[in-house]
Amino acid sequence: MTLPASIISALHGPRALPLRAIEQVMDVERLGAMHQSRLSFMRTLMRRIMRECWQIEIDKLALDEQGYGTVIYRIKTPNRVYSFVIFSEYLADEDRNDRVIASKWDLTMALVDGVIDDTYLQMLRENVPKQEAGRVDSRVFVLSRANRSMRNFDYIVDKLASGEQPEISKLSAVGYLYRTTAVYGSGKLGMADWEKVSSCFVDFNRPFSAEMFVCLMLRNFSLLQVEHIAKHRSADSFRGMQVEIKRFIGIGNSTGLGMAPYLINHPLLINRWVEMRELALARIRLLGVVSQGLRQQLLILLERAKIYTRQTVTEDARQTDNNQKLLVDLSALAKNIQQGFNDWDSLLGWSEQHCSLQGQEMLVSLMLELYPELVDDLENYLVVDELMDLDPLMPLKKVQQIIQQRYAWALSYDFDCPQALQHFWYRSQEKMEPRLGLVNSEPGEDRQMPLGIAYEVRKCFDLVTSHLQQDPQQSTAHFVLAQPQLRGILRRVQSMNKSMYGDIQVNLLDENVLPMHLLRCKLAFFGVGKFDPKSKLWVRNTMFQGAPLLEEIGQPFNDDWFMPLAPSSSQVAES
């Protein structure tokens, strides 16, 4: 997607807005401290659904008393009709596995173009439950699967069947009935390529929009299913779930290492997401009027963030520490704001002096909430043509300068030190699952994925420097002819130099590498909350908690569903 001139001039050149510095923004620890924002994909999807009043209705409900069977939803948007198909099957507890290598799930589902007839449904029934082992065609554009939450599902069914509401404290600990363990789109398993989705299925032409929609639909199906089972178990005593509680139920998600290679392999896309978020912040710093009303609104949001953080449950020591620091930061920020501030720059500057990265980035997210008129239009520019052309005309001297200027962070690592090259990334024979290995103690270093960008840049820089000593006038074209092994990294360096923020600044081969930062960064762009790391390699989180219910489409919507707080007993009673 080509950016309009107004956006380009705001990012580059003499009229550029006051964007935060590259080395500050692209530091992997800061990216790993990001929170959801107005530009997160769940938020932008929800706005679109609500503004366009999508009609989502059940087309086929064929569930038995236990909730097993098939359900088809029909989705009518202003542009097209789609079908969302769910297959619910019995799964023994011992077969329930969130890892990508699993082969059975409680639910499997597909998002399909158009209305489904019986023949097509049969094809889906034969393939969708198999997931990676099945094949579909290009009418399908998302495939996913989910497992029940052992802690919540039966408990909530029991409660509803006996006419009671679930305890809120239980839902605060685990705010979902199902966890997705993979959401596949963009051409996998025979599905429509992104090129088709973005050009033909324009309702889903933003990044991961269709994938997010499937998670939203899964959330709504999970609410339908528990009520369905409870009602059949005890029709007389059954009572439906209170709306406030329903809204507080989201969808769980387990995310593993697969996201890390994605971020490294799509640097132009990640740069664009960061650019738009930073541009939103820069607009606010320059144009955002600070009124008394806004200060009050910010204080309310800070208080909400505090309660939300307190209600976030995790056993991970590092995440607990981060949450504690964030709570301290939020109190300090509130105190500082109460003392008065007149411009955002000074408040941001203060946060950088006194808050953790978690706190600094939470402030950024909350600032974006205050100015939808400065932020929301940027949701239209989150897609980018990921063309990485080699520039054969570029003098090699210029390549050297670019590396020195834009990749100083990469040159700062000492790769003679073994600790800097302690890890390698590879694909396992098990479903090609990305894994992290230790050099010298695990096989596969010879087949590693090229994710060590910093190391590749260092090797490239050394060879460029050496060639320049022999021929200072050499061009990129001639250099690549002689050194074809550098084609990939040269193309990357040249392409990223045209972007505002460039590569994520991290050495993924280092002994202390924390892939969690990359996972967290991407999940924040998705819009998830309640981060609960289970190791340094995978994290559980919650999606769409607080989002409007399907039956609320077409009703007033203030786009204020993020960081949902556990409903109080009085709210539940009123509801």
């Binding site: 065609d137 051409g187 398993l189 894994r435």
Partner: protein, 248 residues
């Protein structure tokens, strides 16, 4: 036959070339060239299938070398490599020379699977330089091929014709690329040497083929798909309890 998406094909081909010793950057290019041809109805998979028996041999061959160069021309010896791992760099040099001199000629010798040059010249057209390519193939019966793209255009045109030309050592496995930043190059094969019809595909037809592939995906023979994936398994690492601990 089976249905696959373009991204599946690209990913499988990348693994296949990576496992066959192609460099980072080259294996992406090679996969992109095949997918691009197939997506545009230009038999990328058929051409790839013909090179499969030789796929792993390229890594033992010398890298491309320059055997002559002046300001407007260059002759490169690719040492019997497939164009999949050498032609992009040659076209880059043509692009550079065309920018410097207005028009440039690149001759690539000892290069196989030259049809894949279509993707490389299309990239040049997109970047504002016109390119024409010409090559011959066949010993007993010589077929001529030409492809070209106008500056700033998105799709090339392509022609081929069986000829009455006699075999020439000089032309075998040779590819001539003319590149200009000043004029649009639009070669056409001569009817006088063609036996029968000249087969031509216009830029418009190529655009239509692309749209069809975007909407419907790609059909591939099950055997070829299995073979691509089998070779690609070379990049995968065996799994054990220890490696499972390194999984997310």
């Amino acid at each position: 036959m089976m249905h696959i998406s373009m991204i599946e094909l690209k990913a499988a081909l990348r693994r296949c070339f990576e496992a066959s010793g192609y460099f980072v950057g080259n294996y992406e290019d090679a996969a992109d060239m095949i997918v691009w041809l197939e997506k545009h109805g230009l038999q990328g998979l058929a051409e790839f299938k013909s090179m499969l028996p030789y796929l792993c041999l390229d890594q033992d061959k010398p890298l491309s070398t320059i055997i002559y160069e002046d300001s407007g021309a260059i002759v490169i010896d690719s040492h019997n490599r497939s164009s999949l791992n050498c032609i992009a760099a040659a076209v880059d040099v043509a692009y550079l020379k065309a920018q410097d001199s207005g028009i440039a000629t690149v001759t690539v010798r000892n290069c196989h699977n030259r049809r894949f040059v279509l993707k490389a010249i299309t990239d040049c057209g997109r970047r504002g330089v016109s390119v024409a390519a010409y090559w011959q193939n066949g010993k007993n019966k010589v077929t001529e091929y030409t492809a070209s793209i106008k500056a700033g255009h998105r799709y090339p045109s392509y022609s081929e014709a069986l000829t009455d030309l006699s075999y020439s050592d000089q032309q075998q496995q040779s590819l001539t690329i003319i590149c200009s930043a000043r004029v649009d190059l639009l070669p056409s094969l001569k009817k006088s040497t063609a036996i029968g019809e000249i087969q031509s595909i216009s830029a418009e037809q190529i655009a239509e083929n692309k749209q069809r592939s975007v909407e419907q995906g790609i059909e591939i023979s099950t055997d070829l798909w299995s073979e691509i994936n089998r070779i690609g398994e070379g990049v995968l690492v065996e799994s054990n309890d220890k490696s499972r601990r390194g999984a997310g």
